[in-house]
């Protein structure tokens, strides 16, 4: 065992040496022929690298390189396009027949069949496997049996999934969900080879998938080397020879390394460097919208925040926040003031509607003051905005928001920030309904659908409805939208639901978040997708 470990270390070292010499060469021998290897900043994934167990960007990066699912989201438009799916048919928005395209294999040679999907999804849903994305499968019939809310599971496979041929399977949902096929681009729905089930530990040490890259070596906590898979059957082959992901504990160091020429790509420019990034990197600094919205949620379980006239207070608070100034000065325009509850990455057809929030999201101190007074004043005379202080530079903007509110209300004590030490503790207080005032809520979409920005967050008892907001009209409209087979009409219903959200001001939309990245002059064609993950396979080296 020890010997094997050393072998991977040496392989890793050799890869580093190779990458280093490539750097020194300045794009000589590796220029343009698609064999150059780039290095990219990485963070240690929080969970084991299983598709249904990865819910953060760092692990997501790897899955995006190593796997291809039935659908794939276009990096520019966000549209869900068929990838492995030949066709997905339905007549009632509840029963779907999936045909997998012929000719796909995993990098170990195994064919991708209908069973690769069904087994993977059953594994992901099954309670005993502790998969954190299990809820993605919740719409599939039979999920309750493999993943009951409490007690032991009574089945290992979902009755809603049936393999009907080598390349066909059927999905039965427990409710109508017209846009369900568009959710299948998410990593959790990736197919898995038999090796995943047969020798799980070995697979985790060196994941095998069906994407354009294969894992060459993986030293947990420090580096993963991915190389182009030459026999990749898809048409989005890697344009480079491979990617070395290097773990950085501090994104400032990664940025310094980029400046010194030791690293090719940093996909998370630290907040403190945003000011310099433009002058340091010029057009090698990219700043594009990502499917992330930041909001302030309210504890509707607290009677103070759930009384009549409360919506006026919430609207007043929203109007007391000078979003333009904060996004300009604190975020250096890497965030855009929000005017609805979705994200610009959805596009107009997808349901993003600029200005849906209307006046309620415009800075207007006088109106704000009036509304708050009409609504009975701030509960307890003061709002405390809770946030976790350990990551994401939250302190800076919370303080700025409070400042803005204090200035608008002419009251130094109207708003204060209330930091919580760690993210885990912060989440704890939220799930235990211990919040006593507004709190920071961020949402990164799972898939580019308006449904994903509304239902999980504001539907009664939905999984991420942290404020426990509940509104019958909203719920009714969401149900109606899901049952609608015409996508355009479904989007309209969702937007009507969003208007209910606005009238009640269930959460204050703050800003849309952009993804930012910087890269060395060896690279070209660098872009971030809607999940703020670099589109690695399109990057050219040299």
């Amino acid at each position: 065992m020890r010997g094997a470990r050393h072998a991977t270390w040496i392989a890793g070292a050799a890869a580093v040496a190779l990458a280093a010499t490539a750097c020194g060469g300045g794009g000589g021998s590796d220029g343009g022929d698609g064999s150059g290897v780039l290095s990219s900043s990485w963070g240690d994934p929080q969970n084991p690298l299983e598709p249904a167990n990865t819910n953060e960007v760092q692990g997501g990066k790897v899955l995006d390189m190593v796997f291809r699912g039935l659908k794939r989201y276009d990096a520019k438009t966000g549209e869900a396009k068929d990838m492995l799916a030949e066709k997905i048919e339905t007549s009632d928005s509840q029963n779907f027949t999936v045909t997998v395209e012929d000719g796909w294999t995993f990098s170990n040679g195994e064919k991708v069949t209908a069973r690769s999907f069904v087994d993977a999804w059953n594994y992901g849903a099954s309670l005993k496997n502790n998969q954190k994305n299990a809820y993605f499968f919740a719409y599939i019939d039979g999920y309750d049996e493999v993943h009951p809310e409490s007690g032991k599971q009574s089945a290992d496979t979902m009755s809603g999934l049936k393999v009907t041929g080598e390349r066909t399977f059927t999905i039965r949902l427990d409710q109508k969900f017209s846009t369900f096929p568009d959710t299948l681009g998410y990593a959790a729905f990736a197919p898995l080879p038999r090796a995943f089930f047969d020798d799980h530990d070995a697979w985790l040490k060196k994941p095998v998938g069906n994407g354009p890259y294969t894992v060459e070596s993986y030293t947990k906590g420090s580096q993963m080397s991915l190389r182009k898979w030459d026999d990749y059957p898809g048409d989005d082959k890697a344009e480079n020879g491979g990617v070395d992901l290097k773990v950085y504990t501090d994104n400032n160091t990664a940025y310094t390394d980029l400046m010194a020429g030791n690293l090719d790509l940093v996909d998370d420019v630290p907040a403190s460097q945003l000011k310099n990034a433009k002058s340091d990197l010029g057009d090698r600094y990219i700043n594009t919208p990502a499917g992330i919205i930041q909001t302030l949620a309210f504890p509707f379980y607290d009677d103070d925040w759930n009384k009549d006239g409360g919506e006026k207070v919430r609207k007043g608070l929203s109007m007391a926040i000078d979003r333009d100034q904060i996004t300009d000065t604190i975020f250096q325009k890497t965030r855009t003031p929000a005017t609805d509850w979705t994200s610009p990455v959805l596009g107009d057809d997808g349901g993003y509607e600029k200005g849906l929030c209307g006046d309620a999201c415009e800075y207007d101190p006088e109106q704000a003051k009036k509304l708050i007074e009409e609504g009975g004043g701030l509960p307890g005379g003061q709002v405390k905005i809770s946030y976790n202080a350990d990551t994401g530079s939250h302190r800076e903007w919370v303080d700025a928001v409070c400042n803005s509110i204090n200035n608008a209300l002419d009251n130094d004590k109207a708003c204060v920030g209330s930091p919580v030490g760690t993210f885990a503790d912060y989440r704890n207080r939220i799930t235990q309904s211990k919040m006593s005032g507004p709190f920071r809520a961020g949402w990164q979409m799972d898939y580019p659908l308006i449904q994903n920005f509304l239902q999980p967050l504001y539907y009664t008892n939905a999984s991420s409805n942290d404020g426990k907001w509940s509104d019958k009209e909203f719920d009714g409209l969401v149900d109606k939208a899901n049952a609608e087979t015409d996508t355009g009409k479904a989007v309209q219903y969702f937007q009507q639901a969003e208007e209910v959200l606005r009238d009640e001001m269930a959460a204050i939309p703050l800003w849309y978040q952009n993804g930012s990245a910087g890269y060395s002059d060896r690279l070209s064609d660098v872009a971030l997708n809607q999940f703020s993950v670099p589109v690695y396979n399109e990057i050219k080296v040299g």
Partner: protein, 307 residues
């Protein structure tokens, strides 16, 4: 001597148990770690419950502690949330940090003591004043400033070193981080040695040694330095533990994947197993280093005897 060591080893047991218990409780006070595993979303209750059961978090704290300690004595430090064994994390992290500490301690011993001797022998001269001012500057500037400054100057502006240390962290790449880590202690070592040397220079035994006609070199190294080193050795000995645990800042700046990195990540993710495991080992290092220091006294000063 033997009985003394045994007594000291026995004294370590309550210290060890107390320290681990405190850390265990402190990490537990921060609340339920499972809540932080699902991003900005709530973990679905069934999975969360299952995870808690698997990590033993559903049991009362005292029971968790007993099970944990029981496992520790069999060499099982538990599993981190990302599915890695804590012992595996240790086997990659500790060698790196030990190398870093060795570099730092070498700097302290070689540079610190040399400067201390030079200034102690030339008290009041320009060299002494210059070094004193320099140490004052080093002590008053926080480590992260020195670290970032050196990284920017040497790594980016002048390209003498790589700004970050590679995953293998060989000695060569650890020189600058080691210097940064050692800088403050180095200044203290210089000052301690200087004072001690300056004081002992006028001691009777030094005068006797000089009067005997011994060469100056022998007087300084055998008589003066040996007797002056006791406070310095105490300082360096306790510093070994402090350097290993306190490398968090330096390790973050230079992206060294050592103990500091694992501890920082463990705390952020509220990973009891990682934090308690690493701290336990650090406590042991600290205790052993202290014992070694005490034993070194006897070597340096023959008048000190342990019974």
């Amino acid at each position: 001597m033997g009985r003394y060591v045994i007594r000291r080893l026995l004294q370590m047991i309550p210290v060890f148990v107390g320290a681990t218990l405190l850390i265990f409780l402190m990490v537990n006070v921060m609340g339920d770690p499972v809540a932080g595993l699902c991003g900005d979303k709530e973990c679905d209750p069934a999975t969360a419950a299952q995870l808690r059961r698997e990590f033993g978090l559903d049991k009362p704290v005292w029971q968790q502690y007993l099970t944990y300690m029981g496992n520790v004595f069999t060499g099982d430090f538990g599993t981190a949330f990302n599915g890695q064994k804590v012992t595996e994390l240790m086997s990659t992290a500790f060698p790196v940090t030990i190398r870093l500490t060795v570099v730092a301690v070498l700097f302290e011993i070689v540079v610190g003591i040399a400067l201390g001797v030079v200034t102690g022998l030339r008290r009041g001269r320009p060299v002494d004043t210059a070094v004193l001012v320099l140490t004052l500057v080093v002590i008053s500037v926080p480590t992260f400033v020195t670290g970032l400054l050196l990284q920017l100057l040497l790594g980016v502006q002048w390209s003498w070193i790589r700004p970050s240390v590679s995953a293998e962290a060989p000695f060569g790449e650890l020189i600058v981080p080691g210097l940064v880590l050692a800088s403050v202690s180095l200044a203290y070592v210089t000052r301690l040695t200087r004072t001690s040397i300056a004081e002992n220079r006028r001691a009777d035994y030094v005068r006797t040694a000089i009067a005997k006609g011994l060469p100056r070199r022998r007087v300084v190294t055998r008589h003066l330095l040996r007797n002056s080193l006791i406070p310095v050795v105490t300082f360096i000995g306790t510093d070994v533990g402090a350097l290993m645990g306190g490398a968090i800042v330096t390790e973050r700046i230079f992206n060294i994947h050592g103990v500091g990195f694992q501890l920082y990540q463990g705390i952020l993710r509220q990973n009891t197993q990682t934090v308690v495991g690493f701290v336990t080992v650090l406590v042991l290092v600290f205790l052993v280093a202290n014992l070694l220091v005490d034993l070194l006294y006897a070597v340096l000063d023959p008048r000190i005897r342990y019974a």
